[in-house]
Amino acid sequence: MDPLPELLAIDGVMLVVVAWFAVGLAGIAALHNFRLVGRVLFPLSAALSIALAGFALLALPGAPQSTVLAIGLPNLPFHLRLDALSAFFLAILGLASAGISVFAGGYFRQGEGTPPGLLCLHYHLFLASMAMVLLADDAYAFMVTWEVMALSSYFLVTTNHRIAEIRRAGFLYLLVAHVGAIAILLCFGVLQANTGDYTFANMRAQELSPFWASCAFLLALFGFGAKAGILPLHVWLPEAHPAAPSPVSALMSGVMLKTAIYGMLRVNFDLLGSPLWWWGVVALALGLATALFGVVFAAAQVDMKRLLAYSSIENIGLIVVGLGLAMIFAAYRMQSLAALALVASLYHCLNHAIFKSLLFLGTGSVLHATKERSLGKLGGLMRFMPWVAWTTLAGVIASAGLPPSNGFVSEWLLLQGFLFTGELPNPYLRMLVPVFAAGVVLVAALAGYVMVKFFGVIFLGRPREEKLAQAHDAGGLERLGLLWLTAGCVLLGLFPVAVLETIDPITVALVGRGLAASGSAGDWLLLAPVSAERASYSPILFLLVTAAVVVLAFVLVRRFYHGRVRRAAPWDCGFPLQTARMQDTAEGFGQPIRQIFEPFYRMHRELPTPFDEAPRYKVTVEDPLWAWVYLRIAAATEAASRWVGMLQRGRISIYLLYSFLTLVALLFLTQA
């Protein structure tokens, strides 16, 4: 066979990476030229993203392709490999970043900290490093690109570095990212099993004892969990996402979190071989706790980007739940069920990348139009920003996991995975797993609450501030980006069978079985992962019938009755003195959730007394884990360093004594 087409895809991906790098450098050349950076470089980079997605989708069904790049240290070249799993995540990167980059072209404006050219460099380094992380085939290349990704995103988070709060958020992000990176490094250390060969091919070949395999699993869970925002390592996420400019938040939430999921999949299913059953239980429990925590806190937020950040934590939780389920099934060699859970997880990765990017971009437009992030000062924007409102609505429906959007499909698949656990050999697991399903369902229903709050408070009702009437809709490039992602939400929701067939090679590679082998193949209209008798769902039919009823009702009512409409002031039970202030604020809308889940929160309420001249009501909701875990770690570190500090006496004789004692101790040890 001709070797040229075999090598095409990975070379194409490399070409895109190099081109991204070049675009970034071009940004440096035009450091302060907004027009060039915004109108030329970012749209160009979006075209490259589409090319990347194309190459990745081309490579997905094919055999793995690998290459060696002679860069880096002597004798330590970069090994790169493009297999189905990398290709899928590269496709996510390409598809999501295409919309985000176009949007970014219209978004970045003067006077926001870092000059545009430098921002362009950081942004494209970030994109290129994410692509390289997904391609890396040895621990060395992986760690280098992983660090480049962390650093470039750190600089992007701190774009508005003149604000102290943002610098603080950036530092926290950097800290957690590095703690995680250490764990990943240790994980690779365990995986290479003292052979000294850090290529993934070697790690794949090693047979680890259950103890060391479990160590590697736990280290990977910790390391990648820190990046993904799994409990209790999520604290950086609600700080860093709101601090970053919206396209960067979209990229981080939509794509970067997925590289962590990629890492988990790579280690647990590929490098480690077959998982043990209790790994799955750990992942399942952690994932569910993360999801519940995320959604409960999202309901209490009053800052729109923080709300979305918590919602990202929730979605990552759901993805990890799917991974855990897949691990349990894989451990018991129930391959088709493992494939089902894995597909649900991967599908949700793709969906979340699209709809969360869309939502973050929507908040970006709102932020630009109103200069407000606080939900309590927004409202009624649907009239002033119809483009942003309607596209965001698509994202909201997807994020709430409702049909016929893409978010529903992955939740549907996940619940299917939960329902067919009757064949599990372990009786405790058999009983436990459906209870987890109940938790997942609760999370999904709460997500609906959060999304109604998000959309309703920002876009509906009446403007809570007068200046909102001057809000302008998104510009041309921004609209293009929003529309691209909206189209993604709709198409991924309507054609799930096509997506499933695309994902199939990955599950074949990771768990040895695809869904196509078990019944759904052939019928593009009907999604039936196990068999049509067991469960089926057809979004197109679903949408068509609803749309037909809507149109028929519309026409028939006008045919038999009339279509007259009279505009009037709102009725509101005849209550005469209504102001926009009487609508629910974000706090008000979240109040039932705060009341029900009160033990979850650390809440401070400031209530006015009846005699206050200017009564103020204030409630702040804090993350209890911050006080329980992080502040304690900080206190312990300080105490420990105080102890160590006691060694420092500032007199040379004492330091000489330390050296002497150390020498004696070492001599003693070597003697013995």
């Binding site: 229903a445 609906g448 709050k453 509906l460 019938v545 009702a553 038999f560």
Partner: protein, 315 residues
């Protein structure tokens, strides 16, 4: 898709469109009798709808398009819901399009839109209604799904048609899991249909309203569609409950005689169900809004318990 299935589907649709308001009228009648009042006629809901359709729609100045399309979307969702629930026959061409999970999603999307529409005008009562509706919804939805999951596990299928025909074919025995699920289902359907211990369909006292607060700004044909959709929802819930817990009398594929029988059987079952609903509404008092989460959490736990009982006892 065969012609026969299409006809059965159209019949089911006609039955739902007519049956929804009839059921609502019947429940109102029963309630009036139980409370010692003179009952309104059975066809009263139809007259109401007819009257409302003739009236002009008054829309607030600030209303966005979401406000105006929501009645149609809600109506469409509820009609689709009553199409995929096996009311008369399990041979429904629409059945593969949506299973039990999609059914819950369907109710979810209707809830999302009606809550957004209530927030759209920006009145205090509207947002209050939306908040309360979502509060009821986020607990009722999982509880309902747990009930459906129990039935799905028994029949090892989430397809409603398959579930119902499996349940209809087993020998008569009260399964403990289904008993738990039945209680959970009753509680959920009271909450979801804005019935008495949770909400009062007859109230116009502003501070206690949920459903009424949501639709406060609607008038004319929009209100008619929403009210019709509400009766369709009651009908869909009742039929789902009857299909899962009392599946006898629902026709199988290509069984014409049974299809003829199915309609009177359904009418009798619905009449009994409607009377029970009126009875519950008469003997219970409405509870405070913050007792509702407890009520629904109980339903949710009962649903989870039903799942567990099924897994423990295999029954």
């Amino acid at each position: 898709m065969n012609l026969e299935g299409l006809l059965a589907q159209l019949l089911a649709m006609a039955v739902a469109l007519a049956g929804g308001p009839l059921l609502a009228g019947w429940v109102n009648q029963c309630r009036a009798w139980l409370q010692g009042r003179r009952a309104p006629p059975l066809l009263m809901p139809f007259r109401m709808l007819h009257k409302l359709f003739w009236k002009e729609s008054v829309v607030a100045h600030d209303a966005s398009p979401i406000f105006r399309i929501t009645p149609y979307i809600v109506f469409g969702c509820m009609l689709l819901a009553s199409l995929i629930i096996p009311t008369l026959s399990t041979d429904l061409p629409m059945a593969p399009a949506a299973d039990a999970i999609a059914l819950v999603g369907l109710f979810g999307i209707a809830r999302l839109f009606i809550s957004l529409a209530a927030m759209d005008i920006g009145t205090a009562f509207g947002t209050m209604g939306a908040r309360r509706e979502m509060l009821v919804g986020f607990l009722a939805e999982p509880a309902f799904l747990m009930v459906l999951f129990t039935a799905s596990l028994i029949s090892s299928s989430t397809s409603l048609a398959t579930t119902v025909s499996t349940l209809a074919h087993r020998e008569f025995a009260i399964l403990p899991s289904l008993a738990f699920a039945g209680i959970a289902f009753t509680m959920v359907s009271l909450a979801e249909n804005a019935r008495v211990p949770v909400d009062n369909p007859a109230t116009h006292l502003e501070l206690t309203m949920i459903h009424e607060a949501l639709v406060l700004e609607y008038s004319g044909r929009h209100l008619a569609l929403i009210e019709w959709a509400a009766t369709l929802k009651l009908f869909a819930y009742s039929c789902a409950g009857l299909a899962i817990f009392f599946p006898w009398g629902i026709a199988e594929a290509r069984d014409h005689a049974a299809l003829l029988w199915a309609l009177p059987v359904l009418a009798v079952k619905l009449a009994i169900g409607g009377f029970t609903l009126a009875l519950i509404e008469t003997i219970l008092a409405k509870m405070r809004i913050f007792r509702v989460p407890e009520f629904l959490a109980t339903a949710f736990l009962l649903g989870v318990l039903a799942l567990l009982v099924h897994l423990l006892l295999g029954a």
